[in-house]
C-alpha cells in the first residue's frame, strides 16, 4: 500500500474510531447543561491525545516495542503488575459501557431492552475477534464508525453562532452548578485521553510492522486523525447545546441523547444516531477487548497477534474471550450503562498518572528511542497532562459523588 494511502486510511480510521459512548455522552451532557462553555475541555483532551498517540506510534516504530512491552522490561514485574491490575480494571469498566452502548443503540432502534442484547452483542464482538484479522477490526469497524460524521452535519445544520463557539474554546468558570461543571470537565478529559487507545495504537503499529520510515506518517495520522475526531466530539456538544439546552433537557438517559439529531435532521436523525452509536461503540468494544488482551500477552511474554488463528496464540485468545463475556454480566443484570460510562470516564482520569508517568520515562530513554527521544515540547505537554490528571485524580472522586 502506498504511503499516501496508508496516511489516508490511518486518518479515516482515527476519525471513524474516535467517538464512543464516553465521548458522546459527556459531550452531550456538557452541551445540554452548559452550552458551549466546556468546548475547552474537549480541545485540551484532544491536544493531549495527539501527543500521546504520536508518542505511542513513535515508540513502536523505533524500538519495535509496544508500550506494554517496554514498560514490563524497563520497570520490572512488580510495578508492571500494579499498572496491569489498575489499567485492566478501568478498561474493563469502559468495555462494559461500550457493550452497553451497543445494547442501548439497539434498544432505541428496536424497542427491545438492552439487557436482552447483552449476550448477543458480546457474542458478535467475540466472533469478530475470533475470526477477524487486525486489519478487519481496525479498518472495518472504524470505516463503519464514519456514520458519526452525521453529528457534524447535525451541528452545522443547527446554525451555531461561531463566535460563541470559539469563545467556548477558552476555559471559563460557570456561574452556578460548579460541582457538576467540574465533574463533566473531568469526564470529558477521561473520555478523550484513554490509555487503552495508546496501547491499541502501539500494538497496531507492531502488527502493521512499522519502522522508522513511518515516523512522519505517524505524526500526520496522529495530528489529523485525532483533530478531526475531536471536531466530531465538539459537534456533539454544539448539537446538544442548540437542540437540547433550550428545552431544558439534561442528558442523564441515553434516550435523551438521541433527540440531539432529530431537530437538525428530522427525517433520518433518529436512525442515524442509533446506527452511528451502534458502530462507534462496536469499534470501541473491539479496541478495548484487544487492548486488554494485548496488555496481558505483551506483559507476560505470550504469543500474540490478531492475525493468528486462536490456537496459535491460545492464552491471548482466552483472555479476550473471558473478558468479553464477563463484561456482559453487569448488562444482563440491568446495570445502567450510562452510570458505568460516567464512572469509567472519571476513573480513567483518576488513573492517568499511573499510565503516563512510566510512558514519559520510556519516551526519554535512549535505549528505546535513540535519537528519536521526546523533545521539550512533547515532554512539556505530557508533563502538563500529568499535572492536570493528578489534579483531576484528587478532585474527580468527590466530584463524582457530588456531581452525580
Amino acid at each position: 500500500m502506498s504511503k499516501a494511502l496508508q496516511i489516508a486510511l490511518g486518518i479515516i480510521t482515527s476519525i471513524g474510531g474516535f467517538l464512543e459512548i464516553g465521548s458522546v455522552v459527556t459531550a452531550a451532557q456538557a452541551g445540554a447543561a452548559f452550552g458551549y462553555q466546556l468546548l475547552w475541555a474537549i480541545l485540551l483532551g484532544v491536544l493531549c491525545l495527539i501527543f500521546l498517540v504520536e508518542m505511542s506510534g513513535r515508540l513502536a516504530a523505533v524500538s519495535k516495542h509496544t508500550i506494554v512491552d517496554a514498560m514490563r522490561e524497563r520497570f520490572g514485574f512488580p510495578f508492571f503488575s500494579i499498572v496491569l491490575l489498575v489499567m485492566v480494571l478501568v478498561a474493563f469498566l469502559v468495555l462494559v459501557a461500550e457493550l452497553g452502548g451497543i445494547g442501548l443503540s439497539l434498544q432505541i432502534l428496536t424497542g427491545i431492552g438492552f439487557p436482552w442484547w447483552a449476550i448477543p452483542v458480546s457474542f458478535i464482538v467475540w466472533a469478530l475477534m475470533w475470526r477477524g484479522t487486525f486489519s478487519l477490526i481496525e479498518n472495518g469497524a472504524s470505516l463503519l464508525g464514519l456514520f458519526t460524521i452525521s453529528f457534524a452535519v447535525a451541528a452545522v445544520k443547527l446554525h451555531p453562532d461561531w463566535g460563541s463557539t470559539a469563545h467556548g474554546l477558552l476555559p471559563t468558570f460557570p456561574g452556578d452548578q460548579k460541582a457538576k461543571y467540574g465533574f463533566i470537565a473531568v469526564s470529558i478529559l477521561g473520555a478523550s485521553i484513554s490509555p487503552y487507545l495508546m496501547y491499541f495504537y502501539s500494538s497496531g503499529a507492531i502488527e502493521d510492522e512499522w519502522d522508522e520510515s513511518y515516523i512522519p506518517i505517524n505524526r500526520v495520522i496522529a495530528s489529523f486523525g485525532m483533530s478531526f475526531g475531536g471536531f466530531l466530539s465538539m459537534a456533539v456538544l454544539v448539537a446538544a447545546a442548540l437542540a437540547l439546552r433550550p428545552k431544558g433537557i439534561d442528558v442523564d438517559k441515553y434516550e435523551q441523547a438521541a433527540l440531539l439529531m432529530t431537530t437538525a435532521l428530522p427525517r433520518w436523525g433518529f436512525y442515524l444516531f442509533g446506527v452511528a452509536m451502534l458502530f462507534a461503540c462496536l469499534g470501541a468494544a473491539l479496541e478495548i477487548s484487544l487492548a486488554i488482551a494485548y496488555f496481558f500477552a505483551q506483559g507476560l511474554g505470550w504469543n500474540w497477534s490478531e492475525n493468528l488463528t486462536p490456537s496459535r496464540d491460545a492464552r491471548f485468545s482466552l483472555v479476550y474471550t473471558i473478558i468479553i463475556f464477563l463484561a456482559a454480566i453487569p448488562l444482563v443484570l440491568g446495570v445502567d450503562p450510562i452510570k458505568v460510562t460516567l464512572m469509567g470516564m472519571a476513573l480513567t482520569a483518576a488513573t492517568l498518572p499511573l499510565a503516563i508517568v512510566p510512558f514519559l520515562f520510556l519516551m526519554n530513554d535512549p535505549i528505546y528511542l535513540g535519537e528519536h527521544r521526546n523533545g521539550w515540547i512533547s515532554n512539556s505537554v505530557v508533563t502538563i497532562v500529568i499535572l492536570i490528571s493528578f489534579v483531576l485524580a484528587v478532585i474527580s472522586i468527590p466530584l463524582q459523588i457530588m456531581g452525580s
Binding site: 524500538s63 519495535k64 516495542h65 512491552d69 514490563r72 522490561e73 520490572g76 514485574f77 512488580p78 508492571f80 503488575s81 475470533w130 475470526r131 507476560l300 511474554g301 505470550w302 504469543n303 500474540w304 488463528t309 486462536p310 490456537s311 496459535r312 491460545a314 492464552r315 485468545s317 482466552l318 535505549i367
Partner: protein, 126 residues
C-alpha cells in the same frame, strides 16, 4: 551486561521465532574463588510471583499442581542456550520442548480447539 536492565523481564524467543515468555528470574552460581555467573534463566509462575510476595508464589504453586499442565516448579533454561541478548533474548532451543509453552499448548488443546474456528488440532505445535 547489566542483568536487571538487559536480561530480567526481557522477552524470550526460541529458534522458531516463537515467544516463550519473559525472564522471571536468574539462577547464579557463586563459587568460593570464582566470579558469580548465570547458570539458568527461569521462566514462570512461582518465581515471577515471588517478586511481589511469597504468598502469591505459594498460591501459584498450588494452582499449577491442581489445574492445567501440572508442572513441578518453574521452567529453567541453561544460560549456555542463550544465542544473543538484544532487543529480545534469542535461545537455541525449541520452546515447546522446554516446558515454557506447556500452558499455551494445554489451553489450545483443552479449550481453544474445541471452539469452532479456534484452529485445527495440533496447529499450536506448528
Amino acid at each position: 551486561m547489566k542483568l536487571v536492565r538487559d536480561v530480567l523481564d526481557k522477552q524470550l524467543i526460541d529458534r522458531e521465532e516463537c515467544e516463550m515468555g519473559r525472564v522471571s528470574g536468574l539462577i547464579m552460581h557463586v563459587g568460593e574463588k570464582s566470579q558469580p555467573r548465570i547458570t539458568y534463566i527461569v521462566i514462570g509462575g512461582e518465581t515471577l510471583w515471588m517478586r511481589i510476595h511469597p504468598s502469591l508464589a505459594s498460591f501459584a504453586k498450588r494452582l499449577a499442581r491442581t489445574w492445567g499442565p501440572k508442572r513441578d516448579g518453574p521452567v529453567r533454561i541453561p544460560w549456555s542456550r542463550v544465542e544473543t541478548v538484544g532487543r529480545d533474548i534469542k535461545l537455541d532451543v525449541r520452546g515447546r520442548e522446554t516446558g515454557a509453552l506447556d500452558w499455551e499448548i494445554w489451553i489450545a488443546r483443552h479449550i481453544i480447539e474445541h471452539i469452532p474456528g479456534g484452529g485445527e488440532k495440533g496447529e499450536e505445535e506448528e
